[in-house]
């Protein structure tokens, strides 16, 4: 049973995914997350990422804020304290507290906006079907930033290049699982072949729903999260509230699918302006 709060447009697309053979990815099951931030720390340690900021958001237990150049895992804390009318919640969703925690990460899209936007070819697709920014090529043009519908890549203030999660390419290359998945104490972050993970995710969603978590659903397939030409994410999530609650877009689009049509109208306008110039200058 899908709750009415999570609008699925195409229910028949649930679990469908365009991942290529041999694709590796993450399943981040937010119902298992305890917000310990071990993934954030493990990621920083393994990838030798410096501090992004030393600040206090005043929002929650989350002083990380969002994904950034040196923050490739970000644990979101959504405190659902009240019941909407100013009263303290008297009931609690089954199998969960009124605290949603979610470890956000690069989605490693099947068709990635950042990769297609990159004018230097610095962003590549690896043999694991993941998306990696080659640091020896990137020249810091910054076009991948607005090209990502999830706000993942970011420019570093130290080396002025774009950075994001590599799905621990170096560890995978040596047969190890990514640092965040390895460190996760509750197996909220699971790593494996995308096909197997996707099957597991659907079993898990069905299990959660049968236990009374009617809101549980999969984010990152063709039905929601991996929509609009993106064709699914290799890093997907099990969520229990609307995507917006976790700062995720519900139906993102691959920006580059617009390029062809945009150039067509532009050349249409060019033709019109050319004719206008002939008419005006001819006398």
């Amino acid at each position: 049973m899908m709750s009415a709060t999570i609008p699925l447009i195409d229910k028949e697309l649930v679990g469908q995914h365009g991942a290529r053979p041999g694709a590796m990815g993450f399943l981040t099951d937010t119902t298992l997350c305890i917000g310990c931030k071990a993934c954030e720390v493990a990621c920083k340690q393994w990838n030798q990422l410096p501090m992004d900021n030393f600040g206090f958001t005043g929002n929650s237990y989350d002083n990380t804020g969002d994904l950034a150049a040196a923050t490739w895992r970000h644990v979101a804390f959504v405190e659902q304290i009240g019941d909407g009318s100013g009263q303290r919640a008297a009931t609690m969703a089954p199998f969960q507290s009124n605290w949603l925690m979610m470890s956000d990460v690069c989605k490693h899209c099947v068709n990635a906006g950042c990769l297609e936007a990159c004018p230097t070819g610095a962003i590549i697709r690896t043999e694991f079907d993941t998306v990696v920014i080659q640091q020896d090529i990137c020249n810091g043009c910054g076009y991948c930033l607005p090209a990502c519908p999830y706000g993942v890549p970011a420019l570093s203030s130290t080396d002025h290049k774009a950075h994001k999660c590599t799905l621990c390419y170096d560890r995978m290359d040596s047969g190890l699982e990514p640092a965040c998945a390895k460190a996760c104490p509750t197996d909220s972050i699971q790593f494996g072949p995308v096909t197997a993970l996707m099957e597991h995710a659907q079993t898990r969603v069905a299990d959660l729903q049968s236990r009374g978590v009617a809101n549980a659903y999969l984010y990152g397939d063709r039905a929601i999260g991996g929509t609009g030409g993106i064709d699914g994410n290799n890093a997907f999530f099990i969520l229990t509230a609307e995507p917006e609650v976790y700062n995720l877009p519900a139906y993102p689009e691959l920006p580059q699918d617009k390029v062809g049509r945009a150039f067509l109208t532009t050349f249409g306008a060019a033709l019109a302006l050319g004719v206008a110039a002939v008419v005006a200058l001819r006398g």
């Binding site: 909407g84 004018p119 910054g142 930033l145 607005p146 090209a147 390029v259 109208t265 302006l273 200058l281």
Partner: protein, 340 residues
Amino acid sequence: MDLSYKRQWETRGGRRRSVPDKTPSSYYNIPVIHKAHWGWLVIVYFFLGGISAGSYVIATVADLFGGPETRRIRQIGRYLSLAALLPSPVLLILDLGRPERFYNMLRVLKLRSPMSVGTWGLSIFGGFCGISALIQTAEDGLYGSSTLARRLLLALPSKPIGVLGTFFGFLVGGYTGVLLAATAVPLWAKNYLLLGPLFLASAMSTASAAIMLVLLSIRGTSHRTLKRLERLDVIAIVLELVLLIAARANLGPIIARPLQEGKVARVYRWGVLGVGITVPLTLLSIGMLWRKAPARLLGALSSLLVLVGGFLLRYVMVEAGHASADDPQATFAFARKKEK
């Protein structure tokens, strides 16, 4: 390490909220997507690139169809297209995080990346601007009357070169709009069909205004030559206005917020729509309807205002995009639009 660096959400003072009572509709108002870092360098480039592209197109059309009456337009157009183009690569390279690696742009051509298409388009168009300006110097007798350089340059097929260069001129004038449109930024992406034409129309209006200003500041330009340029300017401005209205209507109330409230909205309303379009259109129509009007004064004033408006249009488009990217509600509205 630079510890003064602030993350986006940290610098957006006043928009933080305490923990809300009910399920929040966004994650503490933290932006969903990352905005582009583009600032003045890119805004100035958008402006100059447009003038360069428009000038080249106007010079070619004047060359092919204008006859002797538009000789000066062709001359100034060719020179102006090169002059406005020359700073462009410098501005773009300076805008890179790692300028010394700019040449990495030239290791691939990706047709679905407007940044890549634009890099190549600008490089090739630069060559055309250079050749056409060189031919013009020969025609203007810069190398004497019978030197080898003059004969070589005049032997070049200037008209076919102009036609080919015009294609790349249109590409350089319009790709900037597609560049903005092919992103996840709601205010840009929602109008993906209109931004290219809008930037192109503005390229033509600013270019004809720039040529007009140069023509007015030198002697010996006939009234009829100016009138032709003025007509083109009016057509381009009207098209620009129509596109702006269509784009604004297409945005919907939430995504259009940066054009409705705040500083950028004021610049849009008074600078772009007022100073850049309405006032010059009024001045130009006064000049067309009232024969005794001081034509040169009206022409100079309206050209100046069109240039100011064209610059502000680039500013507003870039800055409103940044504000739009920072607004989670706009991103959500854009990413939910398929909902029935």
